[in-house]
Protein backbone atom coordinates (compact mmCIF):
# COMPACT_ATOMS: atom_id res chain seq x y z
CA UNK A 1 0.00 0.00 0.00
CA UNK A 2 1.43 3.33 -1.03
CA UNK A 3 1.47 6.56 0.90
CA UNK A 4 -1.64 7.81 -0.82
CA UNK A 5 -3.74 4.74 -0.01
CA UNK A 6 -2.48 4.78 3.58
CA UNK A 7 -3.54 8.41 3.87
CA UNK A 8 -6.99 7.70 2.47
CA UNK A 9 -7.49 4.82 4.88
CA UNK A 10 -6.33 6.89 7.83
CA UNK A 11 -8.77 9.66 6.86
CA UNK A 12 -11.65 7.23 6.50
CA UNK A 13 -10.82 5.75 9.90
CA UNK A 14 -10.71 9.07 11.71
CA UNK A 15 -13.55 9.14 14.28
CA UNK A 16 -14.68 12.49 12.91
CA UNK A 17 -15.22 10.94 9.46
CA UNK A 18 -16.09 7.34 10.30
CA UNK A 19 -18.40 7.88 13.27
CA UNK A 20 -19.84 11.29 12.53
CA UNK A 21 -21.32 10.79 9.06
CA UNK A 22 -19.53 13.83 7.69
CA UNK A 23 -19.24 12.67 4.07
CA UNK A 24 -22.50 11.71 2.39
CA UNK A 25 -21.92 12.45 -1.27
CA UNK A 26 -21.98 15.78 -2.99
CA UNK A 27 -24.41 17.34 -5.43
CA UNK A 28 -21.81 19.89 -6.49
CA UNK A 29 -23.81 22.94 -5.64
CA UNK A 30 -20.76 24.95 -4.61
CA UNK A 31 -22.30 26.44 -1.47
CA UNK A 32 -19.21 25.63 0.57
CA UNK A 33 -16.86 27.25 -1.92
CA UNK A 34 -19.03 30.36 -1.97
CA UNK A 35 -18.62 30.99 1.74
CA UNK A 36 -15.09 29.59 2.14
CA UNK A 37 -12.47 32.25 2.96
CA UNK A 38 -9.72 29.85 1.86
CA UNK A 39 -11.23 29.49 -1.60
CA UNK A 40 -11.96 33.19 -1.69
CA UNK A 41 -8.48 34.45 -0.94
CA UNK A 42 -6.26 31.66 -2.26
CA UNK A 43 -8.47 30.92 -5.26
CA UNK A 44 -10.74 27.94 -5.64
CA UNK A 45 -8.25 26.23 -7.94
CA UNK A 46 -5.92 25.83 -4.98
CA UNK A 47 -8.43 24.99 -2.30
CA UNK A 48 -12.01 23.91 -2.78
CA UNK A 49 -13.98 22.18 0.00
CA UNK A 50 -16.29 20.81 -2.68
CA UNK A 51 -13.45 18.94 -4.35
CA UNK A 52 -12.19 17.64 -0.99
CA UNK A 53 -15.56 16.10 -0.20
CA UNK A 54 -15.69 14.66 -3.69
CA UNK A 55 -12.20 13.20 -3.31
CA UNK A 56 -13.07 11.50 -0.05
CA UNK A 57 -16.41 10.18 -1.26
CA UNK A 58 -14.87 8.97 -4.54
CA UNK A 59 -11.91 7.46 -2.63
CA UNK A 60 -9.44 9.45 -4.69
CA UNK A 61 -6.23 8.63 -2.81
CA UNK A 62 -3.84 10.40 -5.17
CA UNK A 63 -5.87 13.57 -5.04
CA UNK A 64 -5.65 13.62 -1.25
CA UNK A 65 -1.93 12.96 -1.33
CA UNK A 66 -1.47 15.96 -3.60
CA UNK A 67 -3.53 18.16 -1.24
CA UNK A 68 -1.15 17.55 1.65
CA UNK A 69 1.66 19.26 -0.22
CA UNK A 70 -0.08 22.60 -0.32
CA UNK A 71 -3.85 22.90 -0.75
CA UNK A 72 -4.98 21.50 2.59
CA UNK A 73 -3.13 24.22 4.50
CA UNK A 74 -5.33 26.91 2.94
CA UNK A 75 -8.29 26.05 5.17
CA UNK A 76 -8.91 28.63 7.88
CA UNK A 77 -11.03 26.20 9.94
CA UNK A 78 -13.90 28.64 10.26
CA UNK A 79 -16.67 26.08 9.73
CA UNK A 80 -18.69 28.17 7.26
CA UNK A 81 -19.01 25.12 5.02
CA UNK A 82 -20.66 23.18 7.81
CA UNK A 83 -23.62 25.58 8.11
CA UNK A 84 -24.37 25.92 4.41
CA UNK A 85 -24.08 22.38 3.03
CA UNK A 86 -27.55 21.21 1.91
CA UNK A 87 -26.45 17.58 2.11
CA UNK A 88 -25.10 17.85 5.64
CA UNK A 89 -21.47 17.16 4.68
CA UNK A 90 -18.78 18.60 6.91
CA UNK A 91 -15.65 19.61 4.96
CA UNK A 92 -14.40 21.36 8.11
CA UNK A 93 -13.97 18.07 9.98
CA UNK A 94 -12.66 16.26 6.92
CA UNK A 95 -9.90 18.82 6.42
CA UNK A 96 -8.81 18.38 10.01
CA UNK A 97 -8.87 14.61 9.61
CA UNK A 98 -6.69 14.86 6.49
CA UNK A 99 -4.18 17.13 8.19
CA UNK A 100 -3.93 14.87 11.22
CA UNK A 101 -3.72 11.69 9.17
CA UNK A 102 -0.89 13.21 7.13
CA UNK A 103 1.04 14.18 10.24
CA UNK A 104 0.39 11.33 12.66
CA UNK A 105 -0.35 8.29 10.51
CA UNK A 106 1.55 8.68 7.27
CA UNK A 107 4.19 11.26 8.28
CA UNK A 108 4.15 13.24 5.07
CA UNK A 109 3.54 16.75 6.39
CA UNK A 110 5.63 19.20 4.37
CA UNK A 111 8.37 20.88 6.33
CA UNK A 112 6.74 24.30 6.40
CA UNK A 113 3.63 22.96 8.11
CA UNK A 114 5.23 21.25 11.08
CA UNK A 115 4.28 22.71 14.45
CA UNK A 116 6.89 25.34 15.30
CA UNK A 117 8.97 24.88 18.43
CA UNK A 118 7.84 28.10 20.12
CA UNK A 119 4.28 26.89 19.99
CA UNK A 120 5.09 23.47 21.38
CA UNK A 121 7.11 25.11 24.13
CA UNK A 122 4.22 27.38 25.08
CA UNK A 123 1.93 24.41 25.58
CA UNK A 124 4.38 22.15 27.37
CA UNK A 125 6.37 24.69 29.39
CA UNK A 126 3.58 26.91 30.71
CA UNK A 127 0.36 25.15 29.74
CA UNK A 128 -1.13 27.95 27.65
CA UNK A 129 -1.25 28.22 23.87
CA UNK A 130 -0.21 31.84 23.67
CA UNK A 131 1.79 34.10 25.94
CA UNK A 132 1.87 37.87 26.31
CA UNK A 133 5.36 37.87 24.83
CA UNK A 134 4.49 35.75 21.79
CA UNK A 135 3.78 38.59 19.34
CA UNK A 136 7.14 40.28 19.59
CA UNK A 137 7.17 43.42 17.41
CA UNK A 138 10.28 42.04 15.74
CA UNK A 139 8.35 39.08 14.43
CA UNK A 140 5.09 41.01 14.09
CA UNK A 141 6.05 44.24 12.32
CA UNK A 142 2.65 44.26 10.65
CA UNK A 143 1.05 45.09 13.99
CA UNK A 144 2.49 48.55 13.67
CA UNK A 145 4.45 51.06 15.78
CA UNK A 146 1.68 51.47 18.36
CA UNK A 147 1.99 47.80 19.22
CA UNK A 148 5.76 48.13 19.69
CA UNK A 149 5.06 50.93 22.14
CA UNK A 150 2.49 48.91 24.07
CA UNK A 151 4.81 45.92 24.02
CA UNK A 152 7.64 47.81 25.65
CA UNK A 153 5.26 49.00 28.40
CA UNK A 154 3.51 45.67 28.69
CA UNK A 155 4.66 44.93 32.19
CA UNK A 156 3.56 48.31 33.49
CA UNK A 157 0.16 48.19 31.83
CA UNK A 158 -0.56 44.60 32.81
CA UNK A 159 0.66 44.51 36.36
CA UNK A 160 0.30 48.06 37.61
CA UNK A 161 -2.52 49.65 35.68
CA UNK A 162 -4.85 46.72 35.15
CA UNK A 163 -3.98 44.71 38.21
CA UNK A 164 -5.63 41.37 37.88
CA UNK A 165 -3.97 38.99 40.32
CA UNK A 166 -4.26 35.87 38.19
CA UNK A 167 -2.83 37.42 35.05
CA UNK A 168 0.44 38.80 36.34
CA UNK A 169 3.16 36.83 34.63
CA UNK A 170 4.50 37.80 31.24
CA UNK A 171 5.58 34.36 30.08
CA UNK A 172 2.14 32.76 30.33
CA UNK A 173 -1.45 33.78 29.70
CA UNK A 174 -2.43 33.11 33.32
CA UNK A 175 -0.54 31.85 36.35
CA UNK A 176 -0.65 28.15 35.70
CA UNK A 177 0.53 25.96 38.57
CA UNK A 178 3.38 23.41 38.28
CA UNK A 179 0.87 20.59 38.89
CA UNK A 180 -1.23 21.67 35.94
CA UNK A 181 1.81 21.80 33.67
CA UNK A 182 2.91 18.39 34.89
CA UNK A 183 -0.49 16.98 34.01
CA UNK A 184 -0.38 18.57 30.57
CA UNK A 185 2.92 16.82 29.87
CA UNK A 186 1.59 13.55 31.19
CA UNK A 187 -1.36 13.67 28.82
CA UNK A 188 0.97 14.27 25.89
CA UNK A 189 3.10 11.37 27.09
CA UNK A 190 0.34 8.79 27.56
CA UNK A 191 -1.35 9.62 24.26
CA UNK A 192 1.92 9.33 22.37
CA UNK A 193 2.04 12.95 21.25
CA UNK A 194 5.41 13.55 22.93
CA UNK A 195 6.97 10.55 21.22
CA UNK A 196 5.61 11.79 17.94
CA UNK A 197 7.33 15.15 18.24
CA UNK A 198 10.63 13.41 19.00
CA UNK A 199 11.23 13.28 15.23
CA UNK A 200 10.90 17.07 14.91
CA UNK A 201 12.50 18.34 18.13
CA UNK A 202 14.51 15.52 19.76
CA UNK A 203 16.50 17.75 22.09
CA UNK A 204 13.54 19.54 23.56
CA UNK A 205 11.43 16.41 24.00
CA UNK A 206 14.32 14.53 25.64
CA UNK A 207 14.70 17.40 28.06
CA UNK A 208 11.00 17.28 28.98
CA UNK A 209 11.07 13.51 29.34
CA UNK A 210 14.11 13.63 31.59
CA UNK A 211 12.52 16.29 33.75
CA UNK A 212 9.31 14.32 34.22
CA UNK A 213 10.97 10.92 34.46
CA UNK A 214 9.20 9.50 31.37
CA UNK A 215 10.74 6.54 29.60
CA UNK A 216 12.23 7.27 26.22
Amino acid sequence: MGEAEELLEAVLNDPRVRDMDTVRGCQECGSCVTVCPGARFFGSDKFSPRLIIEMVSNRDADGLRELIDEGIWCCAQCGSCRVVCPRGNDPFAVVLAIREAGEFKVHITPEGAVLPLFHLQAMLDVGTCARPVTPDPKTHPDWGPKWAEIYSNMEKIRTQTISCPELMKLDRAWDTTPEAIKEMRKIWEITGALDHHMQHYPDYIRQIKAKEGFKE
Binding site: R40, G43, P116, T139, P141, D142
Partner: protein, 207 residues
Protein backbone atom coordinates in the same frame (compact mmCIF):
# COMPACT_ATOMS: atom_id res chain seq x y z
CA UNK B 1 9.28 33.78 11.50
CA UNK B 2 10.48 37.29 10.81
CA UNK B 3 8.25 39.41 8.68
CA UNK B 4 9.54 42.54 7.08
CA UNK B 5 6.85 45.14 6.53
CA UNK B 6 8.53 46.49 3.44
CA UNK B 7 8.56 43.01 1.99
CA UNK B 8 4.93 42.60 2.85
CA UNK B 9 4.19 45.82 1.08
CA UNK B 10 5.92 44.54 -2.02
CA UNK B 11 4.08 41.25 -1.77
CA UNK B 12 0.74 42.91 -1.42
CA UNK B 13 -1.68 42.17 -4.17
CA UNK B 14 -5.38 42.76 -3.86
CA UNK B 15 -6.90 39.35 -3.07
CA UNK B 16 -8.23 37.33 -5.96
CA UNK B 17 -11.95 37.87 -6.55
CA UNK B 18 -11.78 40.87 -4.25
CA UNK B 19 -14.53 42.83 -5.94
CA UNK B 20 -15.49 40.48 -8.63
CA UNK B 21 -18.94 41.92 -8.81
CA UNK B 22 -18.16 45.19 -10.49
CA UNK B 23 -14.69 45.22 -12.02
CA UNK B 24 -14.22 41.53 -12.68
CA UNK B 25 -17.46 41.13 -14.52
CA UNK B 26 -16.44 42.65 -17.80
CA UNK B 27 -19.46 41.74 -19.88
CA UNK B 28 -18.28 43.83 -22.82
CA UNK B 29 -15.85 41.01 -23.56
CA UNK B 30 -18.69 38.69 -24.52
CA UNK B 31 -20.22 41.45 -26.64
CA UNK B 32 -16.95 41.83 -28.54
CA UNK B 33 -16.85 38.10 -29.15
CA UNK B 34 -20.43 38.14 -30.41
CA UNK B 35 -19.55 40.72 -33.06
CA UNK B 36 -16.99 38.46 -34.70
CA UNK B 37 -18.01 35.90 -37.30
CA UNK B 38 -18.51 32.59 -35.44
CA UNK B 39 -18.52 34.30 -32.06
CA UNK B 40 -22.23 35.04 -32.17
CA UNK B 41 -22.77 31.38 -31.34
CA UNK B 42 -21.35 31.88 -27.86
CA UNK B 43 -24.88 32.07 -26.43
CA UNK B 44 -25.64 28.59 -27.64
CA UNK B 45 -23.16 26.98 -25.27
CA UNK B 46 -24.75 25.25 -22.31
CA UNK B 47 -21.48 24.08 -20.85
CA UNK B 48 -21.92 20.34 -21.30
CA UNK B 49 -18.20 19.75 -21.85
CA UNK B 50 -18.47 17.56 -24.94
CA UNK B 51 -15.97 19.78 -26.74
CA UNK B 52 -13.40 19.29 -24.00
CA UNK B 53 -14.05 15.58 -23.77
CA UNK B 54 -13.18 15.02 -27.41
CA UNK B 55 -10.52 17.70 -27.77
CA UNK B 56 -7.34 16.63 -29.53
CA UNK B 57 -5.22 19.24 -27.77
CA UNK B 58 -6.93 18.76 -24.42
CA UNK B 59 -5.98 15.10 -24.56
CA UNK B 60 -2.29 16.03 -24.47
CA UNK B 61 -2.47 19.34 -22.65
CA UNK B 62 -4.93 19.24 -19.77
CA UNK B 63 -4.77 23.00 -19.32
CA UNK B 64 -6.40 23.49 -22.71
CA UNK B 65 -10.13 23.29 -22.07
CA UNK B 66 -12.37 24.77 -24.77
CA UNK B 67 -15.43 24.78 -22.51
CA UNK B 68 -13.58 26.88 -19.95
CA UNK B 69 -12.09 29.23 -22.54
CA UNK B 70 -15.47 29.89 -24.15
CA UNK B 71 -17.15 30.47 -20.82
CA UNK B 72 -14.39 32.63 -19.45
CA UNK B 73 -15.10 34.92 -22.37
CA UNK B 74 -18.83 34.67 -21.78
CA UNK B 75 -18.49 35.55 -18.09
CA UNK B 76 -16.04 38.36 -18.80
CA UNK B 77 -13.08 36.78 -17.03
CA UNK B 78 -10.55 38.77 -19.02
CA UNK B 79 -7.71 38.53 -16.51
CA UNK B 80 -7.97 34.78 -16.21
CA UNK B 81 -8.10 34.48 -19.97
CA UNK B 82 -4.98 36.54 -20.34
CA UNK B 83 -3.29 34.49 -17.61
CA UNK B 84 -3.77 31.32 -19.62
CA UNK B 85 -1.00 32.63 -21.88
CA UNK B 86 0.28 30.27 -24.54
CA UNK B 87 -2.17 27.53 -23.67
CA UNK B 88 -5.00 29.26 -25.42
CA UNK B 89 -3.30 29.17 -28.84
CA UNK B 90 -2.81 25.41 -28.92
CA UNK B 91 -5.97 24.50 -30.84
CA UNK B 92 -5.02 22.27 -33.78
CA UNK B 93 -8.21 23.05 -35.70
CA UNK B 94 -9.23 19.42 -35.98
CA UNK B 95 -12.85 20.56 -35.63
CA UNK B 96 -13.80 17.47 -33.68
CA UNK B 97 -15.66 19.72 -31.27
CA UNK B 98 -17.66 21.15 -34.14
CA UNK B 99 -18.74 17.63 -34.99
CA UNK B 100 -19.52 16.76 -31.39
CA UNK B 101 -21.28 19.86 -30.10
CA UNK B 102 -24.92 18.94 -29.39
CA UNK B 103 -26.08 22.52 -29.76
CA UNK B 104 -24.15 23.19 -32.93
CA UNK B 105 -22.30 26.05 -31.33
CA UNK B 106 -19.09 25.33 -33.29
CA UNK B 107 -16.73 25.68 -30.31
CA UNK B 108 -13.65 25.92 -32.52
CA UNK B 109 -15.10 28.99 -34.17
CA UNK B 110 -15.91 30.59 -30.83
CA UNK B 111 -12.37 29.98 -29.62
CA UNK B 112 -11.14 31.60 -32.81
CA UNK B 113 -13.37 34.60 -32.15
CA UNK B 114 -11.92 34.81 -28.66
CA UNK B 115 -8.44 34.83 -30.23
CA UNK B 116 -9.40 37.75 -32.38
CA UNK B 117 -10.59 39.67 -29.35
CA UNK B 118 -7.36 38.94 -27.53
CA UNK B 119 -5.42 40.06 -30.61
CA UNK B 120 -7.31 43.33 -30.67
CA UNK B 121 -6.94 43.93 -26.97
CA UNK B 122 -3.29 42.96 -26.72
CA UNK B 123 -1.80 43.85 -30.12
CA UNK B 124 1.79 44.04 -28.91
CA UNK B 125 1.82 40.86 -26.87
CA UNK B 126 0.33 38.81 -29.65
CA UNK B 127 2.29 40.31 -32.53
CA UNK B 128 5.01 37.68 -32.43
CA UNK B 129 2.86 34.79 -31.37
CA UNK B 130 4.07 31.94 -33.64
CA UNK B 131 0.61 30.54 -33.99
CA UNK B 132 -0.81 33.82 -35.25
CA UNK B 133 2.15 34.54 -37.49
CA UNK B 134 1.78 31.16 -39.16
CA UNK B 135 -1.93 31.61 -39.50
CA UNK B 136 -1.46 35.05 -41.03
CA UNK B 137 0.95 33.69 -43.63
CA UNK B 138 -1.25 30.70 -44.35
CA UNK B 139 -4.35 32.77 -44.85
CA UNK B 140 -2.37 35.23 -46.93
CA UNK B 141 -1.36 32.46 -49.31
CA UNK B 142 -4.85 31.10 -49.50
CA UNK B 143 -6.18 34.51 -50.33
CA UNK B 144 -3.59 34.99 -53.04
CA UNK B 145 -3.54 31.61 -54.73
CA UNK B 146 -6.18 29.43 -53.21
CA UNK B 147 -3.39 27.00 -52.43
CA UNK B 148 -0.62 26.65 -49.94
CA UNK B 149 2.96 26.47 -51.01
CA UNK B 150 4.47 24.66 -48.08
CA UNK B 151 8.07 25.48 -48.87
CA UNK B 152 7.28 29.14 -49.08
CA UNK B 153 5.19 28.94 -45.95
CA UNK B 154 8.00 27.31 -44.01
CA UNK B 155 10.54 29.76 -45.39
CA UNK B 156 8.43 32.81 -44.58
CA UNK B 157 7.51 31.53 -41.15
CA UNK B 158 11.08 30.73 -40.24
CA UNK B 159 12.12 34.11 -41.53
CA UNK B 160 9.60 35.89 -39.38
CA UNK B 161 10.61 33.87 -36.36
CA UNK B 162 14.27 34.73 -36.98
CA UNK B 163 15.37 31.21 -37.84
CA UNK B 164 16.93 29.89 -41.01
CA UNK B 165 15.60 26.99 -43.00
CA UNK B 166 18.20 24.23 -42.84
CA UNK B 167 18.78 21.24 -45.08
CA UNK B 168 17.43 18.98 -42.35
CA UNK B 169 14.19 20.91 -42.34
CA UNK B 170 13.93 20.51 -46.09
CA UNK B 171 14.56 16.77 -45.88
CA UNK B 172 11.95 16.49 -43.14
CA UNK B 173 9.47 18.33 -45.31
CA UNK B 174 10.16 16.14 -48.30
CA UNK B 175 9.75 13.02 -46.23
CA UNK B 176 6.52 14.25 -44.74
CA UNK B 177 4.65 15.65 -47.71
CA UNK B 178 6.57 14.47 -50.72
CA UNK B 179 8.55 16.34 -53.31
CA UNK B 180 5.71 16.93 -55.73
CA UNK B 181 3.67 19.01 -53.33
CA UNK B 182 6.67 21.01 -52.33
CA UNK B 183 7.29 22.35 -55.77
CA UNK B 184 3.72 23.01 -56.83
CA UNK B 185 3.21 26.74 -56.72
CA UNK B 186 0.56 27.45 -59.33
CA UNK B 187 -2.76 29.11 -58.53
CA UNK B 188 -5.88 27.06 -58.04
CA UNK B 189 -7.96 26.85 -61.21
CA UNK B 190 -10.33 29.79 -61.71
CA UNK B 191 -9.04 31.31 -58.48
CA UNK B 192 -9.46 34.89 -59.62
CA UNK B 193 -13.22 34.41 -59.69
CA UNK B 194 -13.45 33.24 -56.07
CA UNK B 195 -10.66 35.38 -54.70
CA UNK B 196 -12.66 38.51 -53.70
CA UNK B 197 -15.21 36.45 -51.74
CA UNK B 198 -12.55 34.48 -49.88
CA UNK B 199 -10.58 37.61 -49.11
CA UNK B 200 -13.63 39.31 -47.74
CA UNK B 201 -14.40 36.31 -45.56
CA UNK B 202 -10.87 36.21 -44.19
CA UNK B 203 -10.96 39.90 -43.44
CA UNK B 204 -14.28 39.65 -41.71
CA UNK B 205 -13.03 36.88 -39.51
CA UNK B 206 -10.05 38.90 -38.39
CA UNK B 207 -12.02 42.06 -37.81
Amino acid sequence: MVVNVEELKAEWLPPKDFTLSEEGHDLSLADEVRKILGGERIDLCFRCGTCTAGCTTGDRLTEYNPRVIINMAKEGMWNELAELGDVIWQCVSCNKCVQHCPKDARPADIVRAVWTVIRHRLPQETEHNPRLVLEGLYMGQIAEKGRVDETKLARDFYGKMGRRLTLDDMMFGIKKVGLTRLIRTSKAPNWDKVKPTVKKLIEERGK
